[in-house]
C-alpha cells in the first residue's frame, strides 16, 4: 500500500541491546486511520517496535516519523501518541478521573478543558459512574477501559496498544475486542496494536504485520495473509488449527510425496510459472473436504481417524494419512468415530506451496 501522507513512518529502524539485534533495518508505513496489528510469537520484537514508536526505547539506527514530523529523538509525551498497556498500568493512588487527567495536567492544560475531555472520554467508554473510584475497586475490563480512556483524553492521532487484552478472561476479551473495533470506527485514528493472539489480529486489523526475529515476514490485509501466506512461517503461524504440510517435490506441474500426489492445475503461482523443485505442500484443515464432498477433488485419499474434537460450530478431526498426522475441519454435528476411515480430498486452488530451500511461496 503506497500512501502519500502516512501517519506513522518507520525508516531503516535498527535496535540492539548490546550484541543482541532485536530489530533489523525495519521499514514500515502506516496510513492515516489505519488499524495495523503487529503479530508474532513472544520474543519476535513486536513490543520492542511499539516501544520504539512510543519513544520508550532509544533506537540504535534509523528514523521514526509521526505525522510527517521526525520524532526519533522526541520525548514520548511530545510524539502525539497514546498508549495502552497489557498490565493496565493505572496509577494505583489516583482515582479514575485522576488517572485520565494526569497527562493533561502535566501538559499544563486549563482545568475546565481537562474536565470536558475527561467527561467526553468517560462517556465514550461508559466510565461515568466510576470516575471517583480507585483502580483497585475496578474489575479487569473496567481497568482496561480506563487505560484506554487515559489514551483517549490526550486527543492524539496515534494509539498504541501493547497486548491490551491478554490479561482478561476469554469472554471479556471478546467484548472488549469489539469495543476497540467500534472505537476505531468511531474515532478513525491510526491504531497500532501488538498481540500474539491471531484471532484478535484477524478480526481487528486493516493490515497485519507478522514478525519473526525482528523482521516483518509479511504485511498484508488479513484475508491475503490467510489465503496467500508469503512464506512457510506465516502459513504455519496463522490459522488454528495450523496448516497441514507435506514434504515432496514438484515435477512437470504435479506434486508428489509419500502421502499425496496431486496435479497442480488451478494453483496460482507467484510469478506465473511452476518450477520443478523440492517443496512443502500446505493445505488448511477447512480446505480438506471429507466424506461425499471429497469425491470430485484433484486429490482423494483415505485417512484413519485418531482423535475427534467436537467444538460445536465445527468438528476437528485428527487423522492419519499414510502414516502422517493431518488435521481436518469437518461440519459441526458430525457423527465421526475414532478408528473409522474418513474419505478426504482437496483441490489445487486452495493450496499453498513453499520451496523447501527458501521456504518462500511458489
Amino acid at each position: 500500500m503506497t500512501n502519500t501522507n502516512p501517519s506513522v513512518e518507520i525508516k531503516q529502524l535498527d535496535l540492539s541491546f548490546g550484541r543482541v539485534e532485536v530489530l533489523k533495518n525495519l521499514n514500515l508505513e502506516i496510513a492515516r486511520g489505519e488499524f495495523l496489528v503487529l503479530l508474532g510469537s513472544s520474543g519476535c520484537g513486536k513490543s520492542t517496535l511499539l516501544n520504539c514508536i512510543a519513544g520508550l526505547l532509544d533506537v540504535t539506527g534509523g528514523q521514526i516519523f509521526i505525522n510527517d514530523k521526525n520524532v526519533t529523538w522526541a520525548e514520548p509525551s511530545d510524539r502525539g501518541i497514546g498508549m495502552v498497556f497489557q498490565s493496565y498500568a493505572l496509577y494505583p493512588q489516583m482515582t479514575v478521573e485522576g488517572n485520565m487527567s494526569f497527562g493533561l495536567k502535566n501538559a499544563g492544560m486549563a482545568k475546565d478543558e481537562i474536565k470536558r475531555r475527561v467527561n467526553k472520554a468517560a462517556a465514550v467508554l461508559q466510565l461515568e459512574p466510576l470516575l471517583a473510584r480507585k483502580p483497585s475497586a475496578l474489575s479487569g475490563g473496567q481497568r482496561q477501559r480506563v487505560a484506554i480512556g487515559r489514551a483517549l483524553v490526550r486527543d492524539v492521532d496515534v494509539f498504541l496498544f501493547d497486548e491490551p487484552l491478554s490479561n482478561l478472561d476469554a469472554k471479556l476479551r471478546t467484548d472488549l475486542r469489539v469495543e476497540i473495533k467500534r472505537l476505531h470506527q468511531q474515532l478513525q485514528n491510526t491504531m497500532i496494536y501488538v498481540t500474539h493472539d491471531q484471532v484478535e489480529a484477524m478480526t481487528l486489523a486493516d493490515r497485519i504485520a507478522i514478525m519473526k526475529d525482528g523482521i516483518i515476514q509479511q504485511l498484508d490485509d488479513p484475508n491475503t495473509i490467510y489465503a496467500k501466506p508469503r512464506n512457510k512461517y506465516v502459513a504455519d503461524f496463522i490459522g488454528s488449527p495450523a496448516m497441514n504440510f507435506f514434504k515432496g517435490d514438484i515435477k512437470g506441474g504435479s506434486f508428489s510425496s509419500p502421502e499425496v500426489k496431486i496435479d497442480l492445475k488451478g494453483y496460482e503461482t507467484v510469478d506465473g510459472t511452476m518450477p520443478d523443485t523440492n517443496a512443502w505442500l500446505g493445505i488448511r484443515p477447512e480446505h480438506i473436504l471429507s466424506g461425499d464432498n471429497a469425491k470430485d477433488c484433484s486429490f482423494v485419499g483415505e485417512a484413519k481417524i485418531e482423535i475427534v474434537d467436537p467444538m460445536g460450530s465445527d468438528t476437528l478431526v485428527w487423522a492419519s494419512l499414510a502414516g502422517q498426522s493431518i488435521r481436518v475441519r469437518a461440519e459441526g454435528q458430525s457423527t465421526l468415530k475414532v478408528g473409522e476411515t474418513l474419505k478426504i480430498g482437496f483441490n489445487a486452488d486452495k493450496l499453498s506451496i513453499f520451496d523447501t530451500a527458501t521456504e518462500l511461496r511458489v
Binding site: A54, Q93, F102, R150
Partner: protein, 319 residues
C-alpha cells in the same frame, strides 16, 4: 450427569476438625512462652529496679516489686545525673540525639530513595557498576574509615571556612569535626548503601509499565518520583525510617568520635552515667537512664509495627 440426591454420606465430610490441645500446639506455645520470658524478664527487672529507692535495692531482691514506688531515679537520670563535667542528666543528650537524628534520617532517606529510583528506573551507562560500588561500601568495616573521616571532616570544615572568609573577612570558623552537622553528614553517608539497596529493590518491583505510562503522560524525572513512585511506596519509607531511627539513635561509635562532650548523643551520655567509677553505683538511676534512652526506638516500633511488617513483606512478595 449424575443426579445428586441427598443421602447419608460416609467418611470425612465438611471442615476438618481442629484440636485445641494437640501435642504440636503444646510444644509451640510452651516454647514461645519460654522465649517471651527470656526477653521480658530483664525488662521487668529494669523497670522494677528503676522504681525502687537505693535502700530497697540494697536488700537484694531484684525480682520483687517495689515496696515504695518512687520516680526519683527517673527525674535524676533525666535532669541531674552527672556525665563528666555536666550535671544536667540525659536531657542534654536527648536533645543532641534529636538534633542528630531528625536531619540524618530525613537526609539519608531523601537521597537514598532518589538514588534507588534512578538506579531502578533511569538506567544510565555504568549504573550497574555504580550500584555495585555503592553496595560494596556496605561491607567495608567502619573502623577502617574512622580516621580518614576525621581528617575529611576537619579539612572540609577548614575549606568551607576559607571560602566563607574569602567573601566575608569576619566569617567565624566553620567546624564539621566535633559538631552535630559533621555527625549528620557521617550518618547520611553510612546509611547510603543499605538504604539505596532497599529502595532500588522496591522500585524495581514496581511494574515497569507504570513508569512507561507516566512517561507517555508527559511526567519527567521528578514528576514520576513525586507523583507516581512516592505515593506508592509508603511501606518501604516506613521500613527505611525504622532502620535509620534505630540505627542512628543507638549509634555509639560515631557519636563518641565525631562530637565533643557538649554535643554527645544520648547513648554516649548513658555510657558515661552508667560507667562512672566515682561514688556509689546508683542502680535505679542507671536503669531509668537506660530505659529512657531506649524509649525512642521502642515507640517507633510500636507506632509503625504494622506498616513495618507490610513494608518488609512488600519487598518480597511483589514483582
Amino acid at each position: 450427569m449424575a443426579n445428586a440426591t441427598a443421602t447419608t454420606i460416609e467418611g470425612p465430610a465438611g471442615p476438618k476438625p481442629k484440636r485445641a490441645f494437640s501435642s504440636t500446639n503444646i510444644i509451640i506455645y510452651s516454647t514461645l512462652f519460654v522465649v517471651c520470658l527470656y526477653y521480658l524478664l530483664p525488662l521487668y527487672v529494669m523497670i522494677m529496679t528503676s522504681l525502687k529507692g537505693m535502700p530497697e535495692i540494697r536488700l537484694g531482691n531484684i525480682f520483687g516489686p517495689p515496696v515504695e514506688v518512687t520516680f526519683e531515679p527517673w527525674v535524676k537520670a533525666w535532669a541531674e545525673a552527672c556525665t563528666g563535667i555536666n550535671c544536667d542528666g540525659l536531657s542534654r543528650g536527648f536533645s543532641n540525639s534529636i538534633w542528630i537524628l531528625v536531619p540524618s534520617v530525613f537526609l539519608s532517606i531523601a537521597i537514598a530513595s532518589v538514588n534507588g529510583y534512578a538506579l531502578a528506573n533511569w538506567r544510565f551507562k555504568g549504573s550497574e557498576v555504580f550500584f555495585t560500588i555503592l553496595i560494596f561500601g556496605a561491607f567495608i568495616p567502619y573502623q577502617v574509615m574512622i580516621y580518614p573521616i576525621v581528617i575529611l571532616l576537619r579539612e572540609s570544615g577548614d575549606g568551607i571556612t576559607n571560602v566563607m572568609q574569602f567573601f566575608y573577612e569576619d566569617a567565624p570558623r566553620f567546624r564539621l569535626m566535633g559538631s552535630l552537622s559533621g555527625l549528620v553528614i557521617v550518618h547520611t553517608i553510612f546509611g547510603m548503601p543499605i538504604l539505596t539497596l532497599l529502595f532500588r529493590n522496591y522500585f524495581t518491583s514496581v511494574p515497569e509499565d507504570l513508569f512507561k505510562a507516566a512517561r507517555v503522560d508527559g511526567a519527567k524525572f521528578w514528576g514520576i518520583y513525586f507523583r507516581i513512585m512516592l505515593p506508592m511506596s509508603l511501606p518501604i519509607f516506613v521500613v527505611a525510617m525504622i532502620l535509620q531511627v534505630t540505627g542512628i539513635w543507638n549509634d555509639f561509635l560515631f557519636g563518641v568520635i565525631y562530637t565533643k562532650p557538649e554535643t554527645y548523643p544520648m547513648t554516649v551520655q548513658l555510657n558515661n552515667i552508667v560507667n562512672s567509677v566515682q561514688g556509689v553505683k546508683e542502680y535505679n538511676v542507671n536503669m531509668a537512664a537506660t530505659l529512657l534512652t531506649g524509649l525512642v526506638p521502642l515507640i517507633i516500633y510500636f507506632a509503625s509495627g504494622k506498616l513495618f511488617v507490610r513494608g518488609i513483606a512488600a519487598g518480597a512478595v511483589k514483582g
